[in-house]
Amino acid sequence: MKFCLVSQTPPNDLDLKDVNRITQWATVMEGAHYNGLAFDSGENGLSYEFFSEFDLVMAAVRLETIEIGLKIKKQSTAHVVVFVDGEMEHFISYLPGDKQVKFIELLNTADAVGVTHEYSIPIIKALTTRPVGLVGVPFPLKRVREELCPPVEKKQAIHVGCGTGKSFNRNGIVNLAALSEIGLPGVVDVWGPEDIEYVRLMKKYMPLPPIYFSHTPPWEDYITQLNYSIMGLHLDFRQIWGRFALDCAAVRMPCIAPDNFYTQKRLFPRLCVKSCQDIDGAVKMAKELLKNDSFYEEVMAYAESQLDYFDNEAAKKRLLDLYDRISSH
């Protein structure tokens, strides 16, 4: 099958292989990958008819790429799967009205729709007559296990899924608040000195434990560092796939998060807090993981039993199953 992914991945990252990003769809499908915005502005020197060369185009859409998805479907003969690329709230609440209309048009013009959380299926199904399926994002488990992250001695530190974001924090401040209540040292990913300054400012008001800063990207460095922590924590409110919980499971550590991360719900059902604000629940679970080895081992054994679901081949099968539903639709 000739496959093409069209996403908002920055042009320099389009050829990344075996990382936990949407690029992995192009990798596992052995296909091409274009940045939709660059393509639309003519930077590739190609017209939309070019996509007729492919059997299947996955259009990963957000606000900026909805109309690009429509153009691919209207101006080429390729089958198009819409990949709902982001938290559900982005589509149901943050898109302006005219974009929501275009989004619904695309959902009904495309051949199928792939989502990243089972909770999103009823919403999207109500908005389209096309087949809808949970596909998620393939995870390079083999590479993580065999190449990047061997078993190591874990440090007594909690790696947070977000501690400080450049523009949007994704509830990083809630993670910091939880760290201040748990008391165990934290690890926060940072991109520059201003990120460290943000945490320093917060420390003036919150009794934050020692915070270690992990400089990131590339992803390989991040996941290698993640491997050394004893657990992950991400009190995110978004209804989304949840790459972080999967990263944690891959490096053999538990993750505390809400079930609005699909990966969390599936991998760590006993570590799902009741909401993104449930600091008390998160503190209780973190303390139980630290003091109760059996609990720690049980949750990890369960996550291990579920990991295959997220591997490259399982994800590819889900996409191909959805593709098969196109022909029978």
């Binding site: 559900m88 149901i92 898109l95 523009s167 608040a177 939880a178 400012l201 008001y205 919150m206 909401s275």
Partner: protein, 329 residues
């Protein structure tokens, strides 16, 4: 007690005067406290010709906090000697994710300088308690029940569902209007909704090219809240599958006009008033089942309304005022 509210309400002729408008809006705090209202940004810009020392005249200043009023609030506390209570006047995600981290740092500084912090949802308490050393409590918004009951006598309800939101014309959030539409399509009843711009009806017509959306009766709300609430009184029930962690003005509107509301418990008023009608915002099937039961089972309908009546006193002027006074004492 001399009371002043700093909010983001656009310029109003009553700013600076005794505020008497009794509507389901943040400003009602000024009405029930016998105080006044200023727009925070206009004040800061000097539009009222007053400096920050002016606030020394008041015993209590309530700052309705959103990203625009964080720095204004800081200035009130730094440049005057008045007692300041922060009212978190937006969904929690606004503060944890959607404001820049520079503003977040200022917000945390302000939460620690102010004299007390009032939240809108009990589930937000642990988070804000972790951010500040000041007292934090659930206070909420007073509801003008007596006035609404005078304006809205018992009437013959129409077989219509009042929707908390639909698709909107601006970049302002849709508040999950699409999810409300999805439920409406499954239920098969007419919906009624307030709209601000005729283009919203055009959006629905455009979507109808792709989806069989139920009939919707549009109500232009340029006549204001009084008109809205007197018209909402004729609906049979309310529906609002909103994902935000917020106070939830809509469920209390519904309870006040003696109709049940189906909504998630992330709206605090819903959780208190209609516990048997709470569904997660993505649970379309659950919402449809509840709506159908309310329509077909008179006892269930009456029990839900009756329970809400037994709880609505919690939102009365007296109860809210008592919660505020307890917080600052």
């Amino acid at each position: 007690m001399k009371f002043c509210l700093l909010s983001m309400e656009p310029h109003h002729p009553d700013h600076g005067k005794l505020y008497t408008d009794e509507q389901n809006h943040t400003n009602i705090w000024a009405a029930i406290m016998g105080g006044t209202v200023y727009n925070g940004l206009l004040f800061d810009r000097g539009d009222y010709g007053l400096d920050y020392e002016y606030f020394n005249e008041f015993d209590l200043v309530m700052v309705a906090l959103r990203q625009e009023t964080i720095e204004v609030g800081l200035k009130v506390k730094q440049k005057s000697k008045t007692k300041v209570v922060v009212l978190l006047d937006a969904e929690v995600e606004h503060f944890t994710t959607h404001i820049t981290r520079d503003l977040q740092a200022k917000m945390v500084a302000f939460l620690n300088m102010a004299d007390a912090v009032a939240v809108l949802h009990e589930e937000s308490l642990p988070f804000f308690q972790a951010l500040t050393f000041r007292p934090v409590s659930l206070v909420g918004l007073p509801f003008p029940l007596k006035r609404v009951r005078r304006m809205c006598p018992p009437v013959q309800k129409r077989e219509e569902i009042e929707l908390g939101s639909i698709i909107q014309s601006s970049m302002v959030r849709n508040r999950d209007g699409l999810v409300n539409l999805a439920v409406l399509s499954e239920v098969g009843m007419t919906g009624v909704v307030d709209i601000r711009d005729p283009v919203e009806t055009e959006y629905i017509q455009s979507i109808r090219k792709h989806l069989p959306i139920q009939q919707i009766r549009f109500r232009y709300n340029n006549l204001g809240w009084d008109h809205y609430i007197t018209q909402a009184n004729y609906s049979l029930l309310g529906l609002h599958l909103d994902n935000r962690y917020s106070w939830g003005r809509f469920p209390i509107d519904c309870a006040a006009v003696r109709m049940p509301c189906v909504a998630p418990p992330s709206l605090y008023t819903q959780k208190i008033l209609f516990p048997r009608l709470c569904v997660p915002y993505y649970d379309i099937e659950g919402a449809v089942a509840l709506v159908k039961k309310l329509v077909s089972d008179v006892n269930f309908y009456e029990e839900a309304v009756s329970y809400a009546q037994s709880q609505i006193e919690l939102f009365s002027y007296e109860q809210c005022k008592m919660r505020l006074l307890n917080l600052i004492s």
